[in-house]
């Protein structure tokens, strides 16, 4: 299947759904699900069809440039990942969004974001890349601010940071065009090989800012928690699961497809090695957000901070440029997509059934009412922690092993500490939502509707499947790595086969299953327990008071007291402060120019000027 067909389906789906929304709501829902599922099918069908057949120039002459699409292993891999998560959240939306207003708009925007992302991964040149990037950014903005109210503020924050990123990318693209006269990705790779390392660094920085904003690397993360908590839950799943990971795609594209492995590894000297700095950024991105997540009481904010933190692992894996690390990084990207989307969907389901409550202090005991959601949450947090048997474990294992064998135990330490922060905060999430005493007002809560259960169970299946048989996605990843020129890994279906540091998930899986069976057998030997209601609980000889016997508020109080002073989001505060000051400067300029210059335009222009100056300065030096 040609990339053109995929894109046409995607965009046409978005448009049709919007129109169908005017006609009938059922038609709209049907079309939305159909088109997102059709996309999955189309992309899946096009597996392996790489090569010149699928490199299509769809606008031969646009300001003297060719706009092209192409399908290669990297593009296909990301495309299928985007399509699947999007399809799942569209299905989830069916009941979640039922009865809300402007649904036609919502669905078409969901599909438009999807189309934009597919466009990004399928585009064969940087101009189309940029165009699709902007389509994605703007439709995301509309979706974030869909709920109005504080959502508008969150959306504004997002779009401002996105714009800064876009500008940086634009500078990079213009500079590339000026330098090499082409924007075709395939040609750029050969062209850039001969240029100076200063120039490569400039390109990487310009692009890196754009991707970093999307990727929410510290310190460019501040839009993300607000955007997530304000967006509707199914879109949060897309946002955190795939949209943010477009940054990862961008990094992979620029770093390994265009600039190339060798150049990257030799960029900079000593401590100011490019991949070294990037990996430290990644490590910081793991630790700080994870511990900020610990302080959150809003389920979605908590997950949003984890979304940022998990990005750090991908960076860590990717930055080192070893086969194992990059494989771990890419694998972690899709793994993260699967479990974070799952968790957002679970939170969405809870929110849906309890009437929009996601304050962790007000929930509790829902396990008996929503068992499937609980199961989803459990699997999701196991994935997020990286418990063995889940896919998160395998990718993290790859990353850790890279760090240790490459001789960076400090980075590994930070990654591990991040994991522990994750354990703490996600257990709080699980406990406060599903365990403990059920409040009176949720006694009547019913379990999640079937259209919510299907995506949840689907993701659970994926998490376990990739956890036990990581070979399935790793084969595809190896295909990508082959195109980038990495040394092949000794992959098997169940992990990695190389000497003492081998990984065999199937063995571990069997061991756990057998141990489980043995323990269950032991349990059967003992006397059978008697099932009692929740109220029959130890209370020092008293009877349990209804609704007052549940520990969830300030779950980790002793730690809060110790770390919360250090974990304010100072970056966010700094941006606000800078914006405030900038406002003052622009006021000043506005007075000089008698009010013609808009704030943001000036902001953008001055930023561009800075970047151009930087480039020139490099040339001079």
């Amino acid at each position: 299947m040609s990339p053109q067909a995929i894109l046409i389906t995607a965009f046409a789906g978005a448009g049709l759904v919007f129109l169908a929304g005017k006609v009938h709501s059922h038609l709209r829902d049907f079309l939305a699900v159909l088109s997102s599922l059709a996309l999955v099918g189309l992309i899946a069908w096009s597996h392996g069809q790489y090569g010149p057949d699928n490199e299509i120039v769809y606008v031969p002459d646009f300001l003297g440039m060719e706009l092209a699409l192409r399908l290669n292993p990297l593009a296909w891999f990301f495309a299928i990942y985007i399509a699947i998560i999007n399809a799942a959240s569209v299905v989830f939306s069916l009941s979640y969004m039922k009865g809300k207003e402007k649904l036609g708009f919502y669905y078409s925007m969901m599909l438009l974001v999807n189309a934009g992302m597919l466009g990004i991964v399928l585009s064969g040149d940087f101009l189309s890349f940029y165009i699709f990037w902007e389509i994605m950014s703007w439709s995301t903005y509309l979706l974030i601010s869909y709920r109005r109210g504080p959502a508008l503020h969150a959306g504004m924050k997002y779009i401002i940071m996105s714009l800064v990123g876009s500008c940086a990318m634009l500078v990079g693209i213009l500079s590339l065009y000026a330098q090499f006269g082409t924007l075709q990705i395939a040609e750029l790779g050969e062209a850039i090989a001969g240029s100076s390392s200063g120039y490569v660094l400039f390109i990487l920085m310009a692009m890196g800012i754009a991707f970093g904003v999307k990727f929410a690397i510290l310190p460019l993360h501040t839009w993300m928690p607000d955007a997530h908590s304000e967006a509707v839950s199914p879109f949060s799943a897309v946002l955190s699961g795939v949209l943010v990971r477009m940054g990862m795609y961008g990094f992979l594209l620029v770093m390994y497809s265009i600039v190339g492995l060798k150049t990257i590894l030799n960029l900079g000297a000593g401590f100011f090695n490019f991949h070294y700095i990037l990996s430290w950024l990644g490590a910081i991105t793991i630790v700080i957000p994870t511990f900020i997540a610990l302080l959150q009481n809003d389920a979605k904010k908590l997950l949003a901070w984890h979304g940022i933190g998990q990005g750090g692992y991908m960076i860590l894996g990717m930055a080192f440029g070893t086969s194992l690390g990059v494989a771990g990084g890419i694998f972690h990207t899709i793994n993260h997509g699967s479990y974070i989307a799952l968790l957002f969907l679970v939170v969405g389901a809870v929110e849906y059934r309890t009437g929009g409550v996601r304050d962790l202090n007000r929930l509790g005991g829902l396990i008996q009412r929503m068992p499937v959601a609980f199961f989803g949450c459990l699997v999701g947090i196991m994935g997020l922690i990286g418990m063995p048997l889940t896919n998160g474990f395998v990718s993290k294992w790859f990353i850790y092993k890279t760090l240790i064998t490459e001789g960076h135990p400090f980075l590994a330490f930070m990654a591990f500490v991040g994991t522990w922060g994750t354990i703490l905060s996600v257990y709080k999430l699980l406990h406060n939502m599903f365990l403990g005493q059920l409040p009176e007002k949720y006694k009547e809560v019913r379990k999640a509707p079937i259209s919510m259960q299907i995506p949840i169970l689907f993701f659970c299946f994926v998490i376990f499947l990739f956890g036990v048989l990581p070979g399935i996605p790793l084969r595809a990843i190896q295909g990508i790595q082959d195109t980038m020129g990495f040394a092949p890994l000794q992959l098997t279906m169940w992990g990695l086969a190389s000497g003492a540091g081998a990984l065999n998930m199937l063995n571990i899986c069997f061991a756990i299953v057998i141990a489980f069976a043995v323990v269950l057998l032991l349990m059967r030997l003992g006397a059978k327990p008697r099932r009692v209601p929740q109220e029959d609980s130890y209370a020092a000889g008293s009877s349990v008071p209804a609704g007052k016997y549940h520990h969830s508020v300030e779950f980790y109080n002793p730690l809060y007291q110790m770390i919360s002073p250090y974990l304010k989001d100072r970056v966010d505060q700094f941006y606000y402060w800078a914006a405030d000051k900038a406002q003052g400067v622009f006021e000043l300029t506005r007075r000089i120019y008698t009010g013609y210059a808009g704030t943001y335009v000036l902001y953008i222009i001055s930023f561009l000027a800075l970047l151009i100056f930087l480039q020139l300065a490099w040339e001079i030096w």
């Binding site: 009481n297 020092a540 000889g541 007052k548 508020v553 002793p558």
Partner: protein, 371 residues
């Protein structure tokens, strides 16, 4: 942190069925995180209506009653009742009996403090000194057993003196027992009192200033740990406490740490006092006869007497209407303000881990509160 979670409050029950609870007593805690927002003492699990039952029994029949008010240290209960009856009936006590009473009460104080030490260190999960303390307490109980025939309840003090004189060689046995316990004081100091972790656990816990302590009616160690030498044995001497020279140990900080230290110092001071009393003890009668207990009537009147039990000021308000039974008796027990007023006050804002710690450092004995 914003107190966002007021929606779901947690009521935690500390006692009565709880390993950290010494005695049958309940504290209901309103908790947020691991902090206690509000503590409510919940007594009454041991209420037997003692004072009502006393109105149904003759003056002498009440002796087996009163000692059961405080099981940890029943002897000061006997003492206070004997004092009140003596005061109402105007009975004199022989000199030797005064000395024996003092020695007896100080022994009881030592055994009670050793019990407190057991309770406190057990509360901190500090099993080793707890086991030792309980063993040493048992040695003191053996002395009681020899003297009175009972391990726990003695019914030894009597209006007009004590029930019997010391048996032969008893003095020496007291001295040797106390010496063997005293020989372990360095061990206790090394493992417990000078242990850094004890300091960490007890410092600043349940802190009271002297003004607060006085306003809340504190007595005993709770007050002495804030720096004042308030001790009924000195303030209003009874038995033979004014006959020998001794000191009241105090500390300044007013927290659990200083309270436990005061208890330790007091124990040592008591032992020294016993030695001095044994030396100064005169020979003579130990018992002035009282009328036939079954026909004994006491002239109408009222009295408030007080003595220093091992927990603080123990008082008895006794009213007689001229009959053969008390008309009204009301015990002022030290645990009453400590366990109800002060405990609720100092537990506010404490950590859950410190609830039992605070309670035992206040030396609360539940039956004293409930009676």
């Amino acid at each position: 942190m914003a107190k966002s979670g007021s929606e779901r409050e947690l009521e935690l029950y500390f006692g009565p069925q709880h390993l950290g609870m010494v005695g049958n007593f309940g504290i209901t805690l309103k908790v947020e995180g691991d902090r206690v927002l509000k503590a409510t003492a919940n007594p009454g699990y041991l209420h037997r209506g003692f004072e009502k039952l006393m109105e149904y029994r003759t003056w002498i029949q009440n002796f087996p009653m009163v000692c059961r008010i405080n099981v940890v240290e029943p002897d000061s209960m006997e003492m206070i009742y004997a004092m009140a009856v003596e005061k109402l009936a105007g009975i004199e006590v022989p000199e030797r009996a005064h000395y024996i009473r003092s020695i007896f009460l100080e022994l009881a104080r030592v055994s009670s403090h050793l019990f407190g030490l057991w309770a406190y260190s057990n509360m901190l999960g500090f099993d080793t000194p707890a086991h030792w303390a309980m063993y040493h307490r048992d040695l003191v109980l053996d002395l009681f057993e020899e003297l009175t025939g009972g391990r726990v309840y003695h019914i030894y003090l009597w209006p007009g003196g004590v029930r019997r004189d010391f048996p032969k060689g008893f003095k020496d046995r007291i001295v040797s027992t106390l010496h063997s316990i005293g020989g372990c004081v360095p061990d206790y100091d090394a493992t417990f009192f000078n242990n850094r972790l004890f300091y960490e656990r007890a410092r600043g816990v349940g802190k009271l200033s002297q003004e607060q302590a006085k306003a809340l009616g504190a007595t005993g160690q709770v007050l002495r740990a804030t720096g004042t030498k308030y001790d009924i044995r000195k303030v209003e001497p009874y038995a033979a406490y004014d006959k020998v020279d001794w000191d009241v140990p105090t500390r300044e900080e007013g927290d659990a740490y200083s309270r436990i230290w005061v208890i330790r110092d007091e124990m040592i001071e008591s032992v020294h006092m016993i030695f001095k009393l044994l030396d100064a003890m005169p020979e003579g009668e130990v018992y002035n006869r009282i009328p036939n207990p079954f026909k004994w009537k006491i002239p109408p009147g009222e009295a408030y007497v007080r003595c220093e039990s091992s927990r603080g000021e123990l008082g008895l308000y006794l009213v007689s209407d001229g009959g053969d039974k008390p008309y009204r008796a009301h015990f002022r027990t030290p645990s009453y303000p400590h366990g109800l007023t002060i405990l609720e006050k100092v537990l506010e804002g404490a950590s859950i881990a410190d609830v039992g710690n605070t309670m035992i450092s206040l030396y609360v004995v539940a039956p004293e509160i409930d009676r």
